[in-house]
């Protein structure tokens, strides 16, 4: 199937990317080709096959519920582009 430019624009919002007009055009062409290629999987009969999400199918790996030191706040905030003494700062979310 072919992706439309509108599809690509919608996906760019879902993926939190802002693409230029030129990028939207290139991306539409390139994604259409790749999606067209991966569609060959349709010819594979997968009736009754369990999906395999992970190479090592482990479940419920538990550890002791013991206290251990975690990353100090200042170290966690050290790489923030904008911060105050205890929080990350972002543009106002709820308006002025």
């Amino acid at each position: 199937m072919s992706l439309t430019r509108a599809d690509v624009e919608k996906v760019s919002l879902l993926g939190r990317l802002r693409l230029s007009e030129a990028e939207l055009d290139t991306m539409t062409t390139q994604l259409t080709r790749v999606v067209g290629y991966v569609e060959q999987l349709r010819e594979v009969n997968t009736d009754g096959i369990q999906p395999m999400a992970h190479a090592v199918e482990m479940h419920n790996v538990f550890r002791d519920d013991a206290l251990a030191p975690s990353l100090p706040r200042d170290a966690a905030l050290a790489n923030a582009p904008k911060r105050d003494s205890e929080c990350y700062r972002v543009p106002a979310v709820l308006g002025e």
Partner: protein, 516 residues
């Protein structure tokens, strides 16, 4: 012969015998990096002062008769996708250009505990997405055998620095062939361990169910040394296997008797370069002369490997890379310019009375995310985020992602059946030798198709190695791939070392920089 010409295993013996010091080694490699890296561009970051200080400390300890770790003062290069505390870790992305991790990856911690000396961080495709290292946001690495060609990727810097004699050991990562393919292109040895063999804690995630850290070296023996130092269970990575780590370095020189090799019919089909095919078939004969039996077999789903991989890997990537939001760490777009832009758009749509556009207008926070990511990510990363977001989105999830997960199981079942009959699968690592810089950058799908012999191993979660097995007429290295059962690296390394004792391809060096 200069110091940098020796194998890591030989250097380690000389270090232990105090015939050479770690400081002398660091100086020798630093000299080659200063002389050659302007051309090769394998390193994103080097710190010789720190390396020398560390080497001096290890030498001092050895001189005082105190215990020294398994890597005893050997220098090592680290792909810039592993967190190094206090040392910038960029993933070759602009979005992490100033990121200084507050902690070490488990592999980095283990390397330090083993007394390895970190020389620097190596170049790669941005976030390990690519097969040529051309997707680095900083610069392109060249192939030491022919600097007009790519070193492969995504661990291109990791392989190129070894081939050019700028490091004796190197750490890479492999999500779809990113250790094995550059090892093949650069004429070095590289292992992708079984999923779970090495902790991924502190490895910047690309596709979490496929990513695995592994060693690159100039021989299987060198890889054995490095794998032994980094492998093992880690409570911080719940997917790491709780299994004992064999003494790879000790056992690697023991040959295997009664070896059964599987020759996969599908690996020798259309698209395989004839010189590579000839070299691989010659390597199989070497194994036969060493007593191996060879059985031809079929892996009927291997042809779906690329399609399956290019759904699963981008899907996981689109989710993993959601963390780059310009808030927690890394690059953030100019906030004032972003707010001004948004205000101007609002004004324009109000004037036009365009209610649809007004309703769709991003909130400031959403626009902050979108502009930050648009400016911080390169084209290939954007492409994969888009692809993954699409294949996971409502209405397409079943048709693409879920379908790919089912085919993934069929691919794994092909392997399970094959390994009931043979010990290892043998074949080419890549269909073609190293290509020219720029040759495939305009055609993402053509670039993806080059991964056909490597991606299925990651999908199945098994182990594999690429080792040099010849050269094309034009002098480009050819890689032989062996694939093994889960957690069978010990025998995989022994099988590779057997071949390397019978041949000398792995000892060949490019002419760059003159005779070492």
């Amino acid at each position: 012969m200069s110091l940098t010409a020796h194998s890591a295993a030989d250097l380690l013996r000389d270090l232990a015998a105090r015939k050479v010091s770690s400081v002398e080694l660091v100086n020798a490699y630093a000299e080659r990096i200063r002389r050659l890296d302007g051309q090769i561009k394998a390193f994103l970051h080097v710190d010789f002062d720190a390396a020398l200080a560390r080497a001096k400390e290890i030498d001092g300890r050895r001189a005082a008769g105190k215990p020294v770790g398994k890597l005893g003062g050997l220098p090592v290069a680290i792909k810039d996708v592993l967190c190094t505390q206090g040392i910038k870790t960029t993933c070759a992305s602009k979005i992490l250009q100033n990121f200084v991790p507050p902690y070490d990856a488990t592999v980095v911690r283990k390397l330090k505990e083993a007394d390895a000396v970190i020389l620097g961080k190596t170049n790669m495709d941005e976030f390990a997405m690519g097969g040529s290292t051309e997707n680095s946001a900083y610069f392109k690495t060249t192939n030491p055998w022919d600097t007009s060609r790519v070193p492969g990727g995504s661990s291109g810097g990791a392989a190129a620095c070894l081939a050019a004699g700028m490091a004796p050991l190197s750490i890479g990562t492999d999500t779809g062939g990113s250790i094995r393919q550059p090892a093949a292109f650069c004429g070095v040895t590289g292992i992708k361990p079984t999923y779970g063999r090495v902790s991924r804690y502190g490895l910047v995630a690309f596709a979490s169910s496929l990513d695995q850290i592994g060693p690159l070296g100039r021989s299987a023996e060198d890889c054995a040394l490095l794998l032994e130092a980094i492998a093992g269970h880690d409570p911080r990575d719940s997917t790491s296997a709780d299994l004992p780590v064999p003494e790879y370095a000790k056992s690697v020189s023991q040959p295997l008797a009664g070896l059964k090799l599987g020759l996969v019919r599908e690996y020798f089909g259309k698209g395989l370069d004839s010189e590579i095919e000839a070299a691989v078939r010659e390597a199989v004969k070497v194994y036969q002369s060493l007593g191996a039996t060879v059985k031809e077999l079929s892996m009927p789903h291997s042809k779906y490997g690329i399609a399956t991989y290019y759904i699963i890997a981008p899907s996981e990537a689109s989710s993993n890379l959601a963390r780059y939001d310009g808030v927690h760490y890394g690059y953030r777009t100019d906030e004032k310019a972003m707010l001004d832009e948004l205000a101007a758009e609002q004004k324009k749509y109000e004037a036009e009375n365009n209610t649809k556009k007004l309703a769709d207008l991003d909130t400031p926070l959403i626009r902050l995310y979108r502009k930050t990511r648009a400016e911080g990510f390169g084209p290939e990363v954007k492409r994969r985020i888009m692809l993954g977001t699409y294949t996971l989105s409502a209405g397409y999830y079943d048709a693409y992602y879920l379908k790919a997960l089912k085919v993934r199981r069929l691919i794994r079942q092909d392997y399970d059946r094959a390994f009931e009959e043979v010990d290892f699968l043998v074949g080419p690592t890549t269909p073609n030798p190293a290509f020219k810089l720029g040759e495939k950058t305009d055609d993402p799908l053509a670039m993806y198709l080059e991964d056909l012999y490597t991606v299925t191993l990651n999908l199945a979660g098994l182990g594999g190695i690429s080792l040099p097995c010849g050269f094309t007429k034009s002098g480009l290295p050819i890689g032989l791939q062996l694939q093994c059962r889960p957690f069978d690296e010990e025998r995989l390394l022994r099988a590779a070392a057997m071949y390397q004792r019978a041949t000398d391809w792995h000892t060949k060096r490019p002419t760059i920089g003159g005779k070492e």
